[in-house]
Amino acid sequence: MTEREVVLVDGVRTPFLRSGTAFADLDNYQLARIAISALIGKTGIAPEAIGSVIYGNVIANTRNPNVARDGMLGAGLDPSTPAFSVSQACISANRAAAISADMIRTGQIDVAIAGGVECLSDAPIGHSKAFRKRLQALQKAKGVGGMFKVFKGFKFKELKPDVPAIAEFSTGLTMGQDCDRLAARFGVSRDEQDAFAERSHKLAAKAWEDGLLSDEVCRAQLPPKFEDIDRDNGYRGDTSLDKLAALRPAFVKPHGTVTAGNASFLTDGAANVLLMSRSKAEELGYDSSVVLRHYVFSGQNPDGELLLGPAYSAAACLSQTGMKLEEIEVFEFHEAFAGQVLANLKCMESKTYSKDLLGLESALGTVPMDRLNTLGGSLSLGHPFGATGARLLNTARNRLIRENGRYALIAACAAGGMGSAMLLERRTV
């Protein structure tokens, strides 16, 4: 098995921007193209060496249902490299990386690009079902009379646009409502959530200030102005507990705890990593020190445990590899909501919950805050749904190298009640 070990060679992402800002005129295809092109430029990998491109994407538009293919062709990669897109909500890029790693492990390919993209500025806004039915019928209608017939009984409310909702399909609850539910269940207070959100923003600002993120982010220059876009624009270094406390609940009113300040915001961005078999990386002279050791995807009941995926998947990932939480030096957890992260942490450190929910003998363990998301997280850096997994992987890799650590664990929750955990190991031989 070891000779087909999968190594995480490098990665790069576009800046993550609040939707409606500088990427507002772009779409999934353009962002994916920019990120793939940047990865080629950063690593100098020969396009013909790439065996596969897999991209995660959640809100697809109608033009690019397979954004991986369109994006990689647009980036000038070799058409002989197959490419496809996966959709597993906020862990889509994690899934893209896992499939890529499996393909490398089984010897199908040696080199893969895995990533994801989300351009929520370009979310497709559709027509109502009733109106769509009429439009379909219109294509087949013959003559003015036929057209007239199609619109018989038309009501103006049919024109109400069909906007994609960030809600759980199976329960009808929005993510925010579900987070409030989870926070209440695990006793996570509003103050705790605000404090965690403040921490995330401050850490992100500091990481940018210290130049720790610039290597992960490519520069974009877009027509017509070609201004340099080379950093994220969502973090608020000047936020404070007072400011956060002043915000009103966004979802559950009036007693809810989730606000716009302690939830992640709508983001445009793309991220990708370059994966290789260890032998190929060595042959081509790339840094092959960081191995993608293991990964687990979990599923829970979306009605109640919707956002508890990190705890479930982390527990499975550690137990399957015989590892203990204490051995992990780098934690990169997705921050959909401050309340969601804190609820997961509480679940993991509680003996009762670990036993009842995760099926463990004892508590999974306490994640030391000085090891968790030290460069900020989705709350502050942003969360382009399909791309976040690739950001977590690349940041975890870079932190491992920078902090001279051995193990990194990334974890994320996803709509539908799912989770993903991935274990990285840095070899220092």
């Binding site: 353009q30 193209r33 920019i34 793939i36 092109s37 940047a38 080629i40 430029g41 950063k42 690593t43 100098g44 990998i45 020969a46 062709l73 647009g74 980036a75 000038g76 520069r219 220059q221 027509p223 070609f226 201004e227 340099d228």
Partner: protein, 703 residues
Amino acid sequence: MKDFFELDQKGDILWVGLDQKDGPVNTLSNRMLTAFEELLAHIEGESSIRSVILISRKKDTFIAGADIKAFSEMASSDEAVHLSREGNRLLARLENLQRDFEKTVIAAIHGAALGGGLEVALACHRRIVTRSPKTVLGLPEIKLGLLPGGGGTQRLPRCVALPTALDMLLTGRNVHPNRAYKMGLVDAVVEPEALEAAAAHAASHGLRSRAGSRKLPWYLNNALGRKVILSKARQKALEKAGPHYPAPQKILECVDVGLSHGFEKGVQTEARCFGELHGSAVSKNLVHLFMNMQASKGRNVLDHAKTIRSIGVVGAGLMGSGIAEVSLAKGLQVRIDDSNQKALTRAHKKVHASFQRKVKKGAMTAFQGDQRLSGLHLGKGDWNGCDLVVEAVFEDLELKQTLVRDLEARVSDRTIIASNTSALPIHKIAANATHPARIVGMHYFSPVPKMPLLEVVAQPSNPDWVVQTAVKLGQKQGKTVIVVQDRPGFYTTRILCAYLNEALMALEEGAGIREIDSALIAFGFPVGPLALLDEVGIDVGAHVSTGVVADVFRQRGFESNPVLKKLVADGLLGRKSGAGFYDYCAPDKPENPDMKRYFNEQVGSPQQSDELGQRIAYAMVNEALFCLQEGVIRSPDDGDLGAILGLGFPPFRGGPFRFVDQMGISAFRKEMEGLAKCHGERFQPAAILEEMDKNGEPFFGGG
């Protein structure tokens, strides 16, 4: 007939597969015409044939036009006239198949249909082309100083709107399928795979003709309107081409006669004019230039060249961004860096705008534009993967030396480092390098996307693969490449210096600024030498002419002219500073009156404009001969290419070497000796002339 056509009759359709057995592409020649006549006789005589489909069996060309080589070897213009008459007679017979025999001829075109190829297609009754970047239509004869002698000047204006036809005839520009359809030149655009099916369908079910579908507005669509358009075109052509190129006027004459006196008279005029142009030295030289450019690819041996996939460019100025653009256009990965972030952004903008223009023109799709642009990477990054890094920073030896050393540390041990310099000696740039043998000169001309020449400067220490790879990259970028030796000023800069120096001498002697420039424009240069100095920058000119090149010149009796340095010191840098020899701030750019202070104020005896122009041009020609003599260039052919494509030496004069040949070696020697007596030792003719004169051998056998 079998040497040219493969016939296959299916039902009432005769498929004529164009397949010239002795060549890679189909061309028109006397032999082909004979076969064509047989073919016509067959079609006319075979009553079962209802329609004919002409389709090429060659890859990616329909008919590439006349066989230029055979054509240029035609001894007399009568032969050319005959060829045109014969061609037109046969094409008329082809066209008349419909009227006289009710047979339809369909041209099914994939690939290039140029010159005679398009004229054949125009004589067909329907034209179907493939939607492919390989498919281009055009009448490029004017670029060779000729006109379309197969009815092109008659049928094209009848097929598409008159201004469109004139544009095609007078620029020789290629037209892509979608545009061709819009202008009514073709009747259908189909996918390449479906060409045969589409042609068969058109033969059996008919296809609406689009010829004549684009009409002029009513107020121009009459004899008077057409006259106005023609006279406008005549005026414009004269302004653009100048008095040296007769072809545009002849083309307009043919179109005019055809429109006023009918098709018959039109083709007669066409044949006569065709013969006249064929006999002209202008056309002979342009044809030779064309063949020389083709042949230069073969002259550059590339058996040790490495494949280039990815290049680096340091310096994002006009040169750097131009080099990036032409590389991206061919699908290369390009990393460009500059310490000035604004320059980098400007370069990005420029490249982006250039691809946008191509997208707008329909030369590429928006998606293809994305693909090309995705190859561009800005700023520092991985240089290790670059096969070649070219530096295009300011012309400063120390700066380049430091940069080269810095680059060496960042690139792989297989990476070539190329220096884009017009005059700095490559061996000096490489002086502090760890691997000087991997450093080579690549002298591009500005603006890079437009200028067709690349001068690759080889050091004696360069292994073959280094020089060949640089040449291969240049060819990939669409450049005609000449390889020159790393001697002072290389080739083009050196002969340019001799030329500019002579212009300054003349100025010193009292000739006027505009007088000098007009004399050289009259000789055929696109701009005069002093205006050129203003364009490139007087500082650049001073830098080069007082530097390395001066040493070479001094030995031959050139007095170095200190005046340029004074101009620079006083801030007169040319266009970029607002004033140089001309004043660019005033309308109409008058001569800069301040210049009087720097040059001899006494007005010398006014010189004959011809003499003045010749004297300055001959300085360049003679310097080119010295370069050949000293082995700076490999061949007279390379010398001609360098002077024409790099410096604007009049193409119709064939280049310095053909110019001397055509004048006669001994006549040129005498001229030079006369000039030497009159103006100084620097006009002493190159020694090789003596030898050649004695043996009576020209530079080009058969010249």
